[in-house]
């Protein structure tokens, strides 16, 4: 069986790639995709901990199911708001939502 650490290394890498993408991407859709990486890294973590450390219970699996559903809702709301931004300024570049900075 593959040791647990290998999964954790993958999930940690995914988490920080997601954070990096969130910070560096200029397109809001790409930022959402980066966030998806973050959440999926967490889901891997939960499942791995559950499977390897506490195989007798299902709490981690349940948490993963809940987090998938809630993340889907989150993405929906975010996309709706991004569409609204697109209608207002004509693109989805975060650099252009700077009206309040000046």
């Amino acid at each position: 069986m593959i040791p647990m650490e290998h999964y954790l290394i993958v999930s940690t890498l995914m988490f920080f790639i997601g954070i990096y993408g969130f910070i560096t991407r200029k397109n809001m859709i790409a930022m959402l995709i980066s966030l998806e990486l973050v959440i999926n890294a967490v889901d891997i973590n939960f499942i791995v901990f559950n499977r390897y450390l506490f195989p007798g219970q299902l709490e981690g699996m349940f948490f993963t199911l809940f987090s998938i559903a809630i993340t889907a809702a989150e993405t929906t709301v975010a996309l709706a708001i991004i569409i609204n931004v697109y209608r207002k300024i004509g693109n989805v570049n975060v650099g252009n939502i700077n009206k309040m900075k000046n």
Partner: protein, 499 residues
């Protein structure tokens, strides 16, 4: 399934009844009836608020923990304990905290009338109330959570509709910007929180607060989990390294939503944080102690320093609310029942002071076409003496001038931290109160001394709803400080929670 568990959730059930009724009313009511929507919604919510206060009123009349037993009267007593296998915890303290959130929401709802009556929002007035109540339900779940999954669901139920509310003025570019910034940051923060929770789960093998407490030791996995978890809640509470969204979202969102964000959302996050820290991380006090100490200092200081240079009044109150969140941390760092009492009392006072200020802002803003620069308030005393008086009381209470409630709330929170030997921290916080007095006085100066600009608001009368909310706020600002029984009562509640 045993439905008696729902008896522990009376406030949630009552909120759901209000919610469903308003939903049906909004869908099926005639155009004529819709004109009375504000009245119906505010009345129903006021009844819900009073219903939540019943156990406290009964306590006051019949002595602590009066139980009405079963039968008709039994509807009005609130059982306490764990429901749904420990997922949901109802205690006297959570009931009181939810009541604070109720009062704040009621005051915000009263202030929305003028804004929602405008042509481009009137057709979605029902939506505003319904979405607000969904966020409130999420905050109830956050406060009552006994399990990290429940806490997470509550946080998301609160955050997602709040993003919709921030983007509610869909024809305004600023509002869309605020919504986009809020949803992206809150999604990131929930991802970070989840990452922390996954490590806590890996280290302890359970998600229940009560089971986790015994397993928490200061090993690296728990510490990583705690830090990510705390960072996620720090975003919601807008503590300083995580505060960057606050000013933009507060400025762009509609004023009533800003008021809701700054008071209700922040209050709920503070309550959830204090329960999580006290119940779960009590064993590793040595770890979070230093983190919170440092965060409290930079939150209060940076919040104050940035507030000084703001030109827009909503941005100004955003930074003022950041520094107030720093004071909330002082109550948390104490780690005692006294600290919890002081923090709850602080939030209660903050609700009234901040909402009085936002009530005045939204009244003025509705008259001058959405101008929220501080200079728009120049000479307000000449044109509207009563409104400027309310604003003066509000900022004096926020700054902590003695006869007002804000002084007492700061006093108790400093006392709680000082009693645990946090002398340096309390000294830094005291210095910051002096700095904060300077920038709060800038608003007073604009209203009372500066000459009014061209095109400033003329004399006007606000509508009855806003007037009611402002009067309630002023009563709160005076009464809560002077009636010492309130602080003593919160004290009796919080001693049940910790040890």
């Amino acid at each position: 399934m045993d439905f008696s568990n729902f008896l522990y959730m009376k406030q949630e059930v009552s909120l759901m009844i209000v919610f469903i009724f308003l939903f049906l009313y909004d869908v099926f009511c005639s155009e004529k009836g819709k004109q009375r929507f504000q009245l119906v919604a505010c009345t129903l919510f006021a009844i819900h608020t009073i219903f939540g206060f019943l156990p406290h009123i009964l306590d006051a009349i019949f002595g602590i923990k009066y139980n009405l037993g079963i039968g008709i009267l039994g509807c009005f007593s609130f059982p306490t304990g764990d429901a749904f296998g420990g997922m949901f915890i109802s205690s006297d303290m959570t009931i009181f905290m939810k009541n604070i959130l109720n009062i704040a929401t009621l005051l915000v709802l009263l202030q929305t009338n003028n804004w929602l009556k405008a042509d481009d929002t009137v057709h979605k007035r029902g939506e505003f109330f319904i979405i607000t109540m969904v966020t409130l339900l999420g905050m109830y779940l956050m406060v009552s959570a006994g399990n990290f999954m429940m806490l997470f669901i509550g946080m998301e139920t609160a955050a997602l509709p709040l993003a919709c509310l921030a983007a509610f003025d869909k024809y305004k570019e600023k509002s869309a910007e605020a919504g986009a910034k809020f949803i992206l940051i809150s999604a990131l923060s929930s991802g970070v929180t989840l990452f922390g929770m996954s490590f806590l789960y890996g280290a302890t093998g359970t998600m229940y607060f009560s089971d986790m407490t015994a397993q928490i030791m200061s090993n690296p996995m728990v510490i990583i989990g705690f830090i990510f978890f705390f960072a996620g809640l720090g975003f919601k509470l807008s503590l300083v390294p995580f505060h960057l969204w606050t000013a933009d979202v507060y400025e762009g969102a509609p004023t009533s939503v800003t008021a809701y964000l700054s008071v209700v959302s922040k209050g709920a996050a503070a309550f959830a944080l204090i329960f999580a820290i006290y119940k779960v991380f009590g064993n590793i006090g040595i770890v979070w102690h230093h983190i919170i100490w440092f965060l409290a200092v930079i939150t209060i200081t940076l919040g104050n320093l940035f507030a000084i240079r703001q030109k827009d009044i909503k941005r100004f109150f955003a930074f003022s609310s950041i520094s107030q969140a720093g004071y909330i941390l002082l109550g948390i760092i104490a780690g005692t029942a006294q600290g919890m009492t002081a923090m709850t009392y602080f939030v209660l006072v903050y609700v009234f002071s901040n909402l009085a200020a936002f009530g005045v802002i939204s009244a003025v803003e509705n008259k001058n076409g959405g101008d929220t620069r501080i200079s728009a308030f120049n000479g307000l005393y000449k044109s509207n003496p009563k409104l400027s008086l309310v604003m003066m009381l509000a900022v004096f209470s926020l700054a902590g001038i003695p006869p007002l409630a804000g002084f007492f709330s700061k006093f108790w929170i400093f006392m709680a931290a000082f009693a645990q030997g946090q002398h340096v921290l309390v000294f830094i916080a005291l210095l910051n109160t002096v700095i904060s007095l300077y920038y709060y006085l800038l608003i007073i100066k604009a209203m009372f001394i500066n000459e009014s600009e061209e095109g400033a608001v003329q004399r006007f009368t606000t509508d009855g709803y806003n007037k009611t909310s402002l009067v309630l706020c002023v009563i709160g600002i005076f009464a809560i400080g002077i009636l010492s029984c309130i602080y003593a009562y919160i004290g009796t509640l919080s001693f049940g929670v910790i040890r």
